[in-house]
């Protein structure tokens, strides 16, 4: 190396070392992901070979007889997450819009930090609150009311027990609400004031500005915020385990007890001593891994097509 010693050469070397270091760090992430995947695949091969595709559609979960299927866990994961999203997304949107468009600076600061505080509460607290406070409330008031008004739908039939998939969805909604609304607020804040001012100048109402300017401008960020919440809801473990009822069953009623992939793992991993049992649990983990990955990929493609059709700015 002829340039060694010269300041320029030193600079270039330092750059190169820095580049390598950062690339290494980035590589670790990829390596970890690949490692997780391979390990999950290897550890679940017993169950993969034994049950095949049947694992995905079987509702049977019987450690005593060695019969395992992922359907109830998968169903519970998807339904509780869907409930959480249906509640949390519109609420977050409203909160974020209020904070950015309507609230005064004082209110904005207080509510803003309250939301950030909510995001910092550990999930076990949500779980305990759900079990001790919310579930009895739901059993006494919420579920009977829903049963009375919407009981003609199979979704709201059955005895009100308090715990169950609906309650899990509610708790999840509360948990992801601060994440989604905090990101949405930041997105709205980044919409240039000039754009909004000109719309107002043309006589648009707040509603029109919100719908046609703010939301359109920040659509990518908004969808990204939703997927952030979704990712958290899909894998949430402790809080869900407390309130979902932990039952390996698929029921049309949202009042019924169910389980999610994460709650099944949290419940059963420690005492699973049979190889096939353990392998089936690992396969559940593999399914969760693939599910999360699929959601990420979907989000990516959806964002691309969205920004093309709406011409979003962020």
């Amino acid at each position: 190396m002829p340039e060694t010693g010269k300041p320029a050469g030193k600079q270039r070397n330092a750059d190169r070392v820095f580049q390598w270091m950062t690339a290494l760090c980035a590589g670790i992430v990829l390596l970890l992901m690949a490692g997780f995947f391979v390990r999950l695949l290897l550890s679940s091969r017993l169950s993969l070979a034994h049950f095949g595709w049947r694992f995905l559609i079987s509702n049977e979960w019987n450690p005593y007889r060695g019969e395992f299927g992922a359907l109830s866990s998968l169903y519970g994961t998807l339904v509780s997450t869907a409930i959480a999203m249906i509640i949390a997304v519109p609420l977050s949107l409203a909160i974020a819009l209020f904070l950015v468009e309507m609230a005064g600076p004082r209110v904005r600061r207080i509510v803003g930090s309250a939301i950030e505080l909510l995001a910092a509460i550990p999930s076990i607290i949500f779980g305990m609150w759900g079990l001790f406070i919310f579930a009895p409330f739901a059993a006494k008031y919420l579920q009977p009311a829903l049963g009375k008004s919407l009981g003609f739908l199979p979704l709201f039939k059955g005895p009100p027990m308090g715990v169950g998939i609906l309650t899990a969805g509610f708790i999840l909604a509360l948990m992801i609400l601060p994440f989604i609304s905090a990101v949405m607020r930041d997105v709205f804040q980044m919409v240039p004031a000039v754009v909004k001012e000109s719309a107002y100048g043309m006589g648009a109402t707040t509603w029109e500005v919100t719908r046609k300017i703010t939301v359109r401008y920040g659509i990518r960020g908004l969808v990204g915020a939703c997927f952030l919440g979704l990712g958290r809801a899909v894998g949430e473990t402790m809080a869900v385990t407390f309130v979902i009822g932990n039952r390996h069953d698929v029921s049309a009623s949202l009042f019924a007890a169910g389980n999610s992939i994460a709650s099944t793992l949290a419940n059963e991993f420690t005492e699973a001593s049979e190889p096939l049992y353990l392998s089936s649990l690992v396969e559940l983990g593999l399914i969760l891994f693939i599910l999360s990955l699929a959601l990420q990929v979907m989000a990516h493609y959806w964002l691309r097509s969205l920004s093309r059709s709406m011409g979003a700015g962020l």
Binding site: E60, R65, P159, N267, T270, E271, A272
Partner: protein, 350 residues
């Protein structure tokens, strides 16, 4: 750290010849164990007291019975602990022996308005039928006929079970499996089963919390949790047809009625024992160790610890609502140690 300790012990043992070896093992030795969560409170208290007295440390990791069995088979710990005993064949295949160290009782707990602890009477068959979903109301004729004079509401029964695999479930389902033919045919007996009805909660504390918050529910927990949470437990009809309350005395009655001498490898399930005073849902927690110990000094230190637990741990156990092993069982355990635990061809326990 353990490895270096062992190396140190080995070197010290060679240097000081056999005489000083056991003395050194007594001072500053570490015994490592892992397994069942059910006896964890009493094991950790014993370990604390024993360390104060002798300087010997006992690390116990409550990772679950399944984990305990896996860890001892992988030889990463000195002993494993399990609420479910291994069969003689499983023990022989792995070169292990097992012995019961502590016992406890599982009690049904209920949340029914107006009922006091110990008022409601249940039989094995009735309990099985409730958990099968066949008896689904608190004022079912089957419950009323056992409890004349009690006012029971026209309310649905919500069954609560352990969602995590557990020794408590193993003991509880063993009782139902032994006493109810429909249960045996439909469900079976394991650390986790496919429950016909109900909701699951994680851990003894989870079941206790769920039963306490859910009106009309029934669950099952370790006796200690029922006591500490002031829950409404039930009476049970035992094998002799007598109704008994869950107490330390009725658990001990079940243990002393059990025929341990005829149990190969101490494989004895304590549920549904004979005896007028026997609480029918009683279980023991077992210790698993290797017959062939690599290091005589550390093996002796470990057995001395267990011996101290048998001899002096009773009061601590009772204070935590556990039941110490009866004298006749301890004698059998000593005989087993003397006959089967060896290191380098020599007996460890003399």
């Amino acid at each position: 750290m353990r490895k270096s300790m062992r190396t140190f012990l080995g070197v010290a043992g060679v240097g000081a010849v056999l005489l000083a070896g056991s003395v050194l093992a007594q001072e500053g030795a570490t015994i490592n164990g892992a397994g069942a969560t059910f006896p964890y409170p009493v094991y950790s208290k014993w370990a604390f007291k024993y360390h104060e007295l002798t300087g010997v440390k006992m690390n116990y990791q409550a990772i679950g019975s399944g984990g305990g069995i896996a860890q001892i088979k992988a030889k990463t710990v000195d002993f494993g602990a399990s609420d479910a005993p291994l069969t003689k064949k499983e023990l022989d295949d792995a070169g292990l022996i097992q012995f019961p160290l502590i016992m406890g009782g599982v009690v049904p707990v209920i949340n029914v308005a107006g009922l006091q602890p110990g008022q409601l009477k249940l039989s094995a068959e009735l309990l099985a039928n409730i958990y099968l979903g066949k008896v689904a109301k608190w004022n079912d004729p089957a419950i009323l006929s056992l409890n004349p004079g009690l006012k029971l509401p026209d309310q649905d029964i919500t069954v609560v079970y352990r969602s995590d695999g557990s020794g408590t479930t193993w003991i509880f389902t063993s009782f139902l499996d032994k006493t109810s033919v429909p249960w045996h045919e439909k469900v079976g007996w394991d650390k986790a089963v496919k429950w016909p009805v109900g909701v699951g909660a994680k851990g003894n504390d989870g079941v206790a919390a769920t039963v306490k918050t859910m009106s009309g529910s029934i669950g099952y927990v370790e006796f200690a949790y029922a006591q500490e949470n002031k829950m409404c437990h039930t009476q049970m009809r035992n094998r002799d047809g007598k109704f008994v309350q869950p107490t330390i005395e009725t658990f001990m009655a079940a243990a002393s009625s059990a025929d341990w001498e005829q149990a190969p490898g101490f494989y004895r399930v304590l549920t549904d024992q004979t005896g007028e005073q026997s609480w029918p849902i009683t279980g023991a927690s077992f210790i698993l160790i290797y017959k062939q110990q690599a290091n005589a000094a550390s093996a002796e230190a470990m057995l001395k610890f267990f011996d101290w637990c048998y001899a002096h741990g009773g009061d601590v156990a009772k204070g935590l609502y556990y039941v110490p092993m009866p004298e006749n069982v301890i004698t059998l355990v000593h005989a087993q140690w003397a006959a089967q635990v060896t290191s380098g061809g020599k007996n460890v326990w003399k």
